[in-house]
Symmetry: C2
Subunit: 353 residues, 2 copies
DNA sequence: CCGGGCTATGATAGCGGTTTCATAATGGCC
DNA sequence: GGCCATTATGAAACCGCTATCATAGCCCGG
């Protein structure tokens, strides 16, 4: 219950000016005020000026809720991302927001924390709010959410993935990771390890691992389960992961592909502190091309994702659909392997002939 | 022509269910539906169940705009930050959003790009939208914005700063930077340099530089203008800045304080590539304690900001004011100097006796 | 100078909720 | 069982804007 609404009379000083106040002061009707502000119909110049002057004087600001209610348009789009703090999502959101803003839309942001039930809750929350469009990450969502989106007919776009099921702006995670694995294979690596964040509820991680497995399989190879670790995210997690891999008695991998550059950085640090040379003893590939990836020693080979482009294209997709224009359902954004110093052929050894 | 012919149950499938549909199906009035969903008054158990069942069946979702209009509450707060992609702001926003969410508020986010005119535009945009509260960064804003906030009586909180003028959750930039300078002075440094991002429209950068100047002045020292550089942000900018400083003919600084850890990282890389030893030849202090700061070699001495705490406290502040509760105007969040390996006493030399 | 087609304007009916306020149903108590 | 104090309920009045529609003004050709 809002705080005690004092029985104020319209002293105009303690109450927001509304369209009627402007209309009265300008000597016109509220319809005309509306027309002036929305340009929905011609208004004689002198009246328009009077309205603008009155509005200026009163400090009139149209009430967004009333407007949204009347127009049945909220002029806001929502985004539910697994982790707001992730640099990649952020670059995407930043350009997404900027593009939307240019068309007068606001961005409402919420965090799902890599949990699908949470995603469903957060998205519902936004949907209740009346958002006109929705951005999601990935292709994996609770059926209830998909159902609701369909029912409310909310234009939705999925990012960081490509899927035939729903409109997407992203890249092929499986292929991208496959390319990284292929590159390592071509260098001569045979024992390849993988480190990723949590894979549950995350189709991107899953697809990436699958891509690597697939590429190896084509050469009759597999990932040694001891070299396949799923951890949390962050630099420390990367360190721990390498420690875990190296603590196994099996021969260590000669190359590792990480789910993010942060994990890669962690691996690098742990390797350094153990005297494991990169890329001499261990080749390393990250994912995302974080701002510092190029500056590590050695510079980190990684897969560059054009995150900002994803955001912009996703915004344009949504904008088009919200305006009733037709759109392409799938836009592939390049994910290129950037070869830097952290990868090299493995040292010749007996089992790597 | 008779007035609007009652659109007799348009197949109900092509139109959102509204409260009246639920009411009709449950055999109650819309008032009761509203009461059930808001718990504003007691409703007999059987009716409540009927309403809930009907709502469930129809997939009813209250229209947020109508709700906001009639309650004169939007249940949304806005945040205008200089740079969405900045890690520090992000950690703050993340916890800010999370805390708001728990009370049913949504976060509307927009980017000002380190430009006050832009900030004023973006904030106005949000204010028009009807946000119930606003988060800003810093104490420096266009008077027009402050005026509008006052006029609309929108609870507003400033972050990353402490100022008597308006409610704040943050820290004393001047003192924090002063402490860093003091530490370097205590180590014996006399020639101290500064590298920050753009200072125009940014009171935080300004205050930090002032803090350093102040600390030096207390010892009768000044910053050599050639050692005081203002640049953009990012690792590359840090590299360039050090390059610029070292290209001067003056004796180089023995220590540098950077406005962010990213700049610090850049300095470190450039130093490395030039054979300038850190901390031997050059001590280095960053700002923010980025996730990787502790992992650089040497680990970066920096000022740690509890960004997440700022967000949480700011949210609580706003929540309290929006609920009409009283609040403390100023909350200081610690900004501690974290001493790591990048700082040490200067090498003894003639002019550093 | 008049009628016909335009255009600018105002009155008014929603949009979909919440919230009085009056009334109907209920319950407690003697 | 009757009476009064509660409590639950529905009708209707908003909230502030946009959209529809009828009308008042206007210009112009005949």
């Amino acid at each position: 219950m809002p705080p005690s609404p004092p029985p104020e009379e319209g002293s105009l000083e303690d109450r927001f000016p509304v369209a009627r106040d402007v209309a009265r002061l300008a000597g016109v009707s509220t319809s005309t005020v509306s027309r002036v502000f929305n340009g929905t119909a011609a208004v004689r110049a002198d009246k328009r000026d009077a309205v603008l002057k009155a509005a200026e004087e009163l400090g009139f600001v149209a009430n967004g809720a009333a407007r949204a209610l009347s127009m049945r348009r909220f002029m806001a789009v929502g985004a539910v991302v697994p982790n707001i703090e992730n640099e990649g999502f952020l670059r995407t959101l930043s350009s997404f927001q900027e593009r939307l803003r240019r068309d007068g839309y606001t961005l409402i942001l919420t965090n799902a924390g890599y949990d699908l039930d949470n995603e469903w809750q957060e998205a519902s929350f936004l949907l209740e709010r009346g958002i006109d469009g929705l951005l999601l990450v990935g292709d994996l969502h609770r059926p209830a959410l998909l159902e609701r989106i369909a029912r409310q007919r909310i234009p939705t776009v999925q990012t960081f993935t490509l899927s035939a099921a729903r409109p997407c702006v992203g890249f092929d995670n499986l292929a991208a990771a496959g390319r990284a694995a292929q590159y390592l294979l071509d260098l001569g690596h045979r024992r390849i390890g993988v480190i990723t964040g949590i894979r549950k509820d995350n189709d991107r991680s899953g697809a990436r691992v699958a891509g690597i497995v697939h590429a190896l399989a084509a050469r009759g190879l597999t990932i040694n389960p001891a070299h396949d670790v799923e951890t949390s995210h962050g630099i420390a997690a990367g360190r721990d992961a390498l420690r875990q891999i190296l603590s196994q008695s099996t021969p260590p991998p000669t190359a590792i592909i990480c789910g993010t550059d942060q994990l890669g950085f962690g691996v690098m640090i742990e390797a350094q502190s153990r005297g494991v040379a990169i890329p001499g003893d261990l080749s390393l590939i990250g994912f995302n091309d974080a701002d510092y990836a190029a500056f590590l020693t050695p510079a980190l080979t990684t897969i560059r994702i054009h995150a900002a482009e994803i955001g912009q294209v996703a915004a344009e997709h949504l904008l088009a659909r919200m305006a009733g224009r037709s759109v392409v359902r799938l836009t592939e954004i390049a994910a290129e392997l950037i070869v830097r110093g952290s990868t090299a052929p493995p040292r010749p050894s007996m089992d790597n002939a």
